[in-house]
């Protein structure tokens, strides 16, 4: 099982990556949005959003979904940052996972947008990458891990 970062630790991934071909996805499989929409039972599901797929269809099921993966085909495409915040602001409490080609220098921002898990590319040195999670200890803005903006804490 591939290694990844979850809640600040290096762990093994128990979920299976998206398989667009599968007509009946395996249990523990992360679903594409289409597959997920076709699934009647949403409880315990995992679904992956691509750039251009805002999280709106998930809003009514946030309590039952276990995992939302947001794909970054290219690390400079920042749509996923907004998707994550929208999910968090609407109360999603499951695992919010970044997948695809993003880089360790983005981990801190991603975490602040609400991502809790990071499936970095294979080449990434995960223990070195852990350091980037904590690049900053203070921030101006409110975020997923600090609901008060600095101006309410000064």
């Amino acid at each position: 099982m591939p290694a990844m970062i979850r809640n600040g630790e290096i762990v093994e991934d128990r979920w299976l990556a998206v398989n667009t071909e599968a007509s009946s996805p395996a249990p523990q499989q992360i679903l594409t949005l289409d597959q997920w929409q076709a699934t009647a039972e949403k409880s315990g599901t995992a679904v992956q959003l691509e750039p251009g797929q805002p999280p709106t269809p998930l809003f009514d099921h946030l309590d039952s979904i276990s995992l939302v993966a947001i794909n970054f085909p290219l690390f400079t495409d920042g749509r996923g940052f907004s998707y994550a915040r929208e999910l968090c602001e609407r109360g999603f409490k499951g695992e919010l996972r970044a997948v695809g080609y993003f880089i360790r220098d983005q981990l801190h921002y991603l975490r602040r947008c609400g991502f809790t898990a990071f499936a970095l590319t294979e080449e990434t040195d995960l223990s070195a990458a852990l350091g980037s999670l904590g690049d900053f200890t203070e921030h101006y803005q409110a975020s997923a891990d600090q609901c008060l903006p600095l101006f309410r804490r000064r």
């Binding site: 495409d77 907004s82 602001e89 921002y109 200890t137 101006y140 609901c147 903006p149 101006f151 000064r154």
Partner: protein, 554 residues
């Protein structure tokens, strides 16, 4: 001006450390070039034609003398002893070494400066009126709002990988000196009849390849909602802005494609989810921001005697008198004057300033202007609060340092990007064109007779020299590997902003001074009494200029 507390300091110190580590990994090969690129850009570091260029942030154009001295020191130790004021009120170093940039940033951090988000596809330095706080036509001081926006936008986790760069301007005066209508977002601070503060919010303005005038998307936004509303705009843009073509990625293209009404509605929808949340500004925060911009301790002067003394000095020295008339402005406090420091002496690149000049300006600021200086988008500097009896010694010092060219607002006070001499994106050089124009039109009486003219030069479509909004705009273009220049007329910034129209086929570099001279002489022939160049152009249109400039061509 705003002063950092421990939080601000900690944030920029941590940014220096982060960038130091990124630079180290880039140099040792563990951070690939393509991944380092957006990271360094977000820290103002370009790799240019000859050397890297580092753009240092000057938040809304405010500097103090300590910062200036540090900058002078940095230009000596890490660069070639000069710096450049950009059209976004920032300061650029043209010759730093990549491996030394973290050290430069660490030096800057000691004087509460940084290079955060001066480039890259993120929210850039917020700009405002260079005369904020001292202008006669000001409704209220825009700088507290600039500072609030600065903090909110600095290292914002959600908006660091936008489709394209994003620029916000704030203005609070009746005349718009911040080009609100040409920004991704323009925030016009307003005061209601009851004295309440609110904002008119514009979106979708811009220059570049597809110049556009911003549209009003919110006529009145109550003061506490400033940040949540901006956040909603950014969210719509971040999710829906085009990412497939960098020339179509700015918010102006999105606003146009969606239509203003649909865009406004999309923003409203995002806003509903976050409005009244914890990002809503508190009174305490607004008061805190305002407390940094209280007026300085102005001297109570006997205005009448100060003015008569000034008149006397002017009578005795026509050069001084002319400088007062051209380069200084009335201040909202009697007995004070706003002083523009011209960085447009002929023979020097527009906006360039040497280390010694920077130190001189710092000294003058300490002695005569409460220790503060502003940078302007016209690439000049300003001493905003000079006591009238001090004008004479200030002028003498500036004059001796080549900083008193009496041309503010006139043709030779032109705006010019670094162009092909420095910039790797350039189609053509811009500095030699600027110099040739300044050399041709050095006769001040002729310039004064022409009246105020904005002449703006960009070395390529990216329009850093804002050529579209110059009354006369010059754009470098590439024609089969040769440098040519397109001329446009009739652009303007301000509340009646307009985009210049292209005159016709482009010209070679050596022809430009002649062409400009022709255009000016057509204006002089056609103008009615009291008409500025822009007035005449707006009355007669482009045709008379076109016909006569190209008359010999066929």
């Amino acid at each position: 001006m705003y002063v950092y507390d421990k939080y601000d300091q900690q944030i920029i110190d941590e940014r220096v450390n982060q960038f130091r580590d990124q630079t180290r990994r880039f140099i040792n090969g563990s951070l690939p070039e393509a991944e380092f690129l957006p990271l360094r850009l977000q820290n103002g570091l370009y790799v240019q034609r000859l050397a890297p260029m580092l753009r240092i942030a000057v938040p809304y154009g405010l500097l103090n003398s300590t910062q200036l001295r540090k900058l002078a020191d940095i230009t000596r130790r890490f660069d070639k002893g000069y710096a450049h004021i950009s059209t976004r009120q920032n300061i650029q170093l043209n010759w730093p070494q990549l491996e030394e940039v973290p050290d430069i940033l660490a030096e800057l951090a000691t004087v509460q400066m940084h290079a955060i988000q001066t480039s890259g596809n993120c929210i850039r330095n917020t700009t405002t009126d260079q005369y904020a706080g001292v202008a006669i036509d000001e409704l209220t001081d825009p700088r507290p709002y600039c500072e609030i926006i600065r903090q909110w936008s600095t290292l914002h986790p959600e908006f660091a990988f936008l489709p394209r760069k994003f620029k916000i301007a704030v203005c609070a005066s009746t005349g718009d000196r911040a080009a609100l209508y040409n920004h991704d977002v323009g925030v016009e601070v307003r005061v209601s009849d009851q004295g309440a503060i609110g904002f008119r919010v514009l979106a979708g303005g811009g220059l570049g390849r597809t110049p556009m005038i911003g549209a009003v998307i919110c006529e009145w936004l109550d003061e506490p909602h400033l940040l949540t509303y901006l956040e909603a705009i950014l969210r719509v843009y971040n999710q829906r802005g085009r990412r497939d073509n960098k020339y179509k990625a700015r918010i102006k293209i999105l606003v146009k494609a969606m239509g203003v009404d649909a865009f406004r509605e999309a923003v409203a929808q995002e806003w509903r989810a976050i409005k009244d949340g914890l990002n809503t500004l508190t009174n305490a925060e607004i008061e805190r921001a305002k407390s940094f911009f209280n007026p300085p301790q102005y001297l109570d002067v006997d205005t009448a005697s100060a003015q008569s003394a000034l008149r006397e000095q002017c009578r005795n020295n026509p050069t001084f008198s002319n400088w007062v008339a051209r380069n200084t402005l009335d201040h909202k406090v009697d007995g004070y004057q706003i002083v523009n420091i011209s960085l447009k002496a002929t023979g020097y690149a527009p906006g360039d300033i040497t280390d010694a000049q920077i130190e001189l300006v710092a000294d003058l600021a300490d002695r005569y202007a409460f220790g503060e200086v502003r940078s302007t988008h016209e690439q000049n500097l300003v001493l905003a609060d000079v006591h009238q009896p001090d004008l004479y010694p200030v002028w003498q010092a500036l004059q001796a340092a080549g900083l008193a060219t009496p041309n503010i607002g006139y043709l030779s006070d032109l705006i010019c990007c670094p162009g092909g001499d420095y910039c790797s994106l350039a189609n053509a050089k811009s500095l030699p064109v600027a110099e040739a124009i300044q050399a041709r039109f050095s006769d001040l009486d002729y310039l004064y007779d022409l009246g105020p003219i904005d002449l703006n030069i960009s070395g390529c479509m990216n329009a850093c020299g804002h050529h579209h909004i110059g009354h006369i705009g010059i754009l470098g273009v590439d024609k089969k590997g040769q440098e040519f220049y397109q001329v446009c007329l009739g652009g303007n910034q301000g509340k009646d902003a307009s985009i210049g129209k292209i005159l016709g086929p482009s010209f070679s570099q050596q022809d430009i001074p002649d062409i400009i001279e022709q255009i000016l002489s057509i204006y002089l022939q056609l103008r009615r009494p009291e008409e500025s160049f822009l007035d005449t152009y707006r009355r007669v249109g482009i045709d008379p200029f076109k016909e006569r400039v190209y008359a010999g061509d066929d």
